[in-house]
């Protein structure tokens, strides 16, 4: 309980810090719209050459795009800033400050930094999803929404774990500057239905890098493609993945020696 309170307090301070820079909001909106425009142009190009991609129509794939934008927003707002700060602190030996606090260190390094304007993508993504659902006109039931919200939460947890695993490598690797590029590159696979990838790649982006669970599964929930087995599998996998991340974090931490403090 106390852990949760500390986490929320950190997040609130982070949000308040960022809210001071209001021009950044306008800039982020602009950037978010540009990214969306690029995505839409790519889609129109693809669907100029075909009517269905691996069984997904343009509007259905629009749902996938919306989910991917939402997830990207979550990652860039709360996960990536924390993880990058953490890797830098390992390099500079400043992690001592976090480790000496009387709360769980993994929790602490995961909540100290928020880039609140990046959350604009939550709105952009939600907008895309709504437009796509209206155009699909398929009718989304309450169960679909429940499945969607669950899948979204599970997906966010999985992506956090994946980032945490990569960031923990900082205990071995000094130079982690390119980590966002690595994540961003791989994350783009989530923009397309998982079925188009060759089997080895499909396996990788499902279990090694849990993009499929994070993006495709929520999108399947909204387009009534989701079966409950997949959702249960996703939840089970998230638990295992989280436990592994936790173990790996402890294992990495045991190698840490403060460099400067």
């Amino acid at each position: 309980m106390q852990t949760l309170r500390v986490a929320l307090l950190h997040l609130r301070v982070g949000v308040m810090t960022d809210l001071q820079y209001r021009v950044n909001f306008a800039l982020q909106v602009l950037q978010s719209l540009l990214a969306l425009a690029t995505g839409l142009v790519v889609f129109s190009l693809v669907y100029a050459h075909t009517t269905e991609l691996n069984g997904w129509s343009q509007n259905e794939l629009l749902v996938v795009l919306g989910v991917q934008i939402v997830m990207g927003g979550v990652i860039r707002a709360v996960v990536q800033p924390n993880m990058m700060r953490f890797t830098e602190e390992v390099r500079d030996g400043k992690l001592d400050h976090a480790l000496t606090k009387p709360v769980d260190a993994q929790m602490l390094v995961s909540v100290r930094q928020v880039e609140v304007w990046q959350a604009v993508d939550l709105l952009t993504g939600a907008g895309v999803i709504v437009v796509a659902l209206i155009r699909l006109d398929g009718g989304v039931g309450p169960l679909d929404v429940l499945g969607f919200v669950t899948a979204l939460a599970v997906g966010a947890l999985l992506l956090y774990c994946f980032w945490m695993l990569l960031a923990t490598l900082a205990f071995w690797i000094v130079n982690m500057w390119h980590l966002p590029e690595l994540f961003e590159g791989v994350f783009q696979t989530g923009r397309w239905p998982i079925g188009i990838y060759p089997p080895w790649l499909r396996f990788s982006v499902t279990f090694l890098v849990p993009i499929a669970f994070a993006v495709t599964v929520p999108a399947e929930a909204l387009t009534s493609r989701l079966d409950w087995e997949t959702l249960v599998l996703a939840i089970g996998f998230a638990c295992v993945f989280f436990a592994f991340t936790r173990w790996f974090w402890r294992f990495g931490l045991s190698r840490y020696t403060g460099a400067s403090a």
Binding site: L27, Q31, V42, A48, H49, E52, L53, H178, V186
Partner: protein, 280 residues
């Protein structure tokens, strides 16, 4: 603050330039070899982009009877594999680097040096290409084995490719350099840079082979610098250009390098007057 490089004695001048470039390149080569893990993080992230495009377009080709816009799965594979090579080569100093240099006052130190800062960027990145290409080779082998590209290459095409990748490097160096100079006026530039990247993505052949674009886009792209940094170098190996077309492409690259130098120098002269050191 003076921006004119101090003049060297005429006789030693060329030698000093060559010496400077070689030394900067050597330094970068050694330093890049230190950070192998970082290089692979970047390379894997970079390779994801073309692999996704390749898979998407291959799926479309297979769904529509084997080809899309006249390209087979093998052609597409060849295109996007050469893409990764070209991308390695045309990677340049990011415009965001200028934001950081100017905002942190880092530039003050650079301005005191006898050479213009862009020489350090061009020489440094040129040097880092060598270790990066070495790191990249295994990835290229894996991509070739997995995606089975079809190649039909002539000696002249390889020769032109070897030149064109450096042409692409210089065009992008000056374009992105000039864009970076906007930071002298404002440091809130990320939206502008995103716009640039979006235009480049669509008009360079980075997203899809230009032949899959609507005709008017292809015509527009021909008159802009972007496609000479992706599509043209890739097509020298993958497409079948005649010798005339190859030479014309190199000519266009020279033209855009000169335009880039002109714009960069012009903007630089005005930009540097706006600089006030914040830090350092």
């Amino acid at each position: 603050m003076s921006t004119v490089p101090a003049s060297l004695p005429e006789a030693g001048r060329v030698r000093s330039w060559v010496d400077f470039y070689l030394t900067s390149m050597r330094t970068q080569i050694s330093s890049q070899f230190q950070y192998r893990a970082a290089a692979y993080m970047y390379l894997l992230g970079m390779v994801a982009e073309p692999v996704i495009y390749l898979v998407v377009w291959t799926t479309i080709a297979e769904d529509s009877g084997g080809t899309v816009g006249g390209l087979t799965a093998g052609d597409l594979a060849a295109y996007y594999i050469v893409w990764t090579f070209v991308r390695n080569m045309n990677l340049v100093f990011t415009p965001f680097g200028w934001e950081w240099r100017i905002r942190d006052g880092e530039l003050s130190g650079w301005l005191l040096r006898p050479l213009h800062p862009i020489h350090y960027d061009i020489a440094g990145f040129a040097g880092s290409k060598i270790p990066w290409l070495l790191f990249y080779l295994p990835i290229a082998v894996v991509l070739t084995l997995v995606f089975d590209p079809t190649f039909d290459v002539r000696a002249a095409e390889i020769a032109v490719f070897a030149v064109a990748i450096w042409g692409a490097y210089l065009i992008r160096s000056f374009n992105q350099g000039a864009l970076g100079l906007v930071c002298f006026w404002t440091t809130r530039v990320s939206a502008l840079f995103s716009l640039y990247i979006m235009v480049e993505l669509l008009l360079s052949g980075r997203l899809v082979p230009m032949t899959l674009m609507p005709d008017w886009v292809q015509t527009l792209a021909w008159f802009l610098p972007f496609q000479w940094t992706f599509f043209f170098p890739i097509e020298t190996l993958v497409g079948d250009y005649s010798n005339t077309e190859l030479l014309r492409g190199l000519g266009m690259q020279v033209f855009w390098i000169l335009v880039g130098i002109a714009i960069f120098s012009l903007v630089w002269r005005h930009a540097v007057r706006h600089y006030t050191a914040v830090n350092n």
